[in-house]
C-alpha cells in the first residue's frame, strides 16, 4: 500500500499530500509532494527538489521544513518499499 505521510493540519487542509507509491520512478529515491494536478519530487539523497518544474519556490516554507523534519521516516518507508535501491546506497555494491 502506498505510504502517505501525516502533515500538519493547515497543510493537509490546503490539499497537500506527501507519498511514496507502490510504483514510482525508482531512481533517484524520492517522495512525491502532491497538490491538485501538480507534483514535486523531493530527493531523499539530495534533500532537495529534483526538478525545475513545477517550481520548488511554489511550496510553502513550512512544508519544506516538514519534509526535513520527517526525513528519516521517509527514508525508512522508501527503503522498505524499494529495498533494491535504498536511499543510503548510491552505488549498489552487487558486483
Amino acid at each position: 500500500m502506498a505510504r502517505a505521510f501525516d502533515l500538519p493540519r493547515e497543510l493537509a487542509s490546503a490539499r497537500w499530500k506527501v507519498k511514496v507509491r507502490d510504483k514510482e520512478r525508482t531512481e533517484p529515491p524520492h517522495v512525491s509532494v502532491l497538490r491538485g494536478t501538480q507534483c514535486w519530487r523531493w530527493g531523499l539523497r539530495e534533500r532537495a527538489f529534483l526538478d525545475s518544474e513545477p517550481s520548488p519556490a511554489d511550496l510553502p516554507k513550512n512544508l519544506v521544513q516538514h519534509l526535513e523534519n520527517i526525513h528519516d521516516e521517509m527514508c525508512a518507508a522508501w527503503n522498505d518499499m524499494y529495498p533494491h535501491n535504498p536511499v543510503t546506497s548510491k552505488d549498489d555494491e552487487d558486483e
Binding site: A2, D22, K23, E27, T37, D51, S52, D94, E95
Partner: protein, 252 residues
C-alpha cells in the same frame, strides 16, 4: 497529434452540475495559445444533429459526461479521433483545466482478455499498460483489477490498494514524456551509464542479473562511464535483459 492543438468536444447534458459554462472562458484562453478550442454542447442535441452517410473522421476528441447506449456510442465513435466517457467531478474539471493534462489520467479500465490496463489521459489519448508491469513492492498489496480508478487529481492510478504514479507509467511507456522529464531534472546525468542505471533500477534488476554473458563488474563500469559506450552484442544483451529496444536504452 499535439494535445494542445487537438480540440476536445465536451458533451454535457447537465452543464450546471460541472459548472462548465463558468469555466469556458479560462479554457478558451488557455487553449487559444495552442490553437485549440473547447466546444461545450448537449449530448441530446448533438445526437439529433449527427451527420449520416459517409463521414470523414474528425481530428477532435470527444469527452462524454454521461453514459450512452453501446450502439449510439459506436455511432459516435465513427466521427471522432477518440471518445472517452467520464463521470463529471471536480477532479475532472481540474484535469481538463491543467496545462499538463496530457500527463494526467482521466480514467482507467481493465481488459481481462488481453490482461491490459487501459488508461485515458487528460488530452483523451489512450495508453495501454500490461498488468504484469504493476509489480508488487516489498510487503505491498497485489494489484486488484476489480477496483481500478484514478485518484490524486489524475496523478495516481489505484489498482485496488496498489497505487502507481502516473509519472512512473508515463516515464516507462511514453518516450515524449521521458524526454520532457529528463529536461526538467535539476540534476542531469545524461550519460549512457546514467540511463542504464536508471532503467536497471526501474526494472528492479541487480547488476549480477545480466550474467552469464555480462558480468556485474562490466555493467558497473558501463554505468560509471569507465568504459566507452558499449556497442553491438553488449548493447543487444543489455536491451534484451531490460526488455526495451536497443535504440531506446539511452532515453531513460
Amino acid at each position: 497529434m499535439n494535445s494542445l492543438t487537438s480540440p476536445i468536444v465536451v458533451l454535457d447534458d447537465a452543464p450546471k452540475h460541472l459548472g462548465l459554462s463558468s469555466v469556458r472562458k479560462p479554457f478558451s484562453s488557455k487553449w487559444a495559445k495552442g490553437g485549440g478550442q473547447l466546444v461545450v454542447s448537449s449530448t441530446a442535441r448533438f445526437l439529433r444533429e449527427m451527420p449520416t452517410g459517409v463521414v470523414h473522421r474528425l481530428k477532435d476528441r470527444l469527452l462524454l459526461l454521461s453514459q450512452i447506449e453501446q450502439p449510439t456510442l459506436e455511432n459516435v465513435e465513427r466521427l471522432f479521433d477518440a471518445v472517452v466517457v467520464a463521470e463529471p467531478s471536480e477532479d475532472l474539471l481540474e484535469i481538463l483545466s491543467a496545462e499538463n493534462r496530457d500527463e494526467l489520467f482521466l480514467r482507467a479500465s481493465f481488459d481481462p482478455v488481453a490482461n491490459h490496463v487501459v488508461i485515458h489521459r487528460g488530452d483523451l489519448s489512450t495508453l495501454v499498460v500490461p498488468l504484469s508491469w504493476f509489480s508488487q513492492t516489498a510487503g505491498g498489496p497485489q494489484p486488484d483489477t476489480s477496483r481500478i480508478r484514478v485518484v490524486d487529481s489524475g496523478q495516481t492510478l489505484a489498482v485496488g490498494d496498489y497505487e502507481a504514479a502516473a509519472s512512473a507509467i508515463l516515464y516507462e511507456f511514453d518516450a515524449d514524456y521521458r524526454r520532457r522529464a529528463k529536461k526538467r531534472a535539476l540534476t542531469k546525468d545524461n550519460t549512457f551509464g546514467g540511463s542504464l542505471r536508471r532503467l536497471r533500477l526501474q526494472k528492479g534488476l541487480a547488476r549480477a542479473d545480466f550474467g552469464p554473458h555480462l558480468s556485474a563488474k562490466t555493467v558497473g563500469r558501463i554505468e560509471r562511464g569507465e568504459v566507452e559506450k558499449p556497442r553491438g552484442r553488449t548493447l543487444t544483451l543489455l536491451a534484451k535483459k531490460l526488455k526495451v529496444p536497443v535504440d531506446a536504452l539511452a532515453s531513460y
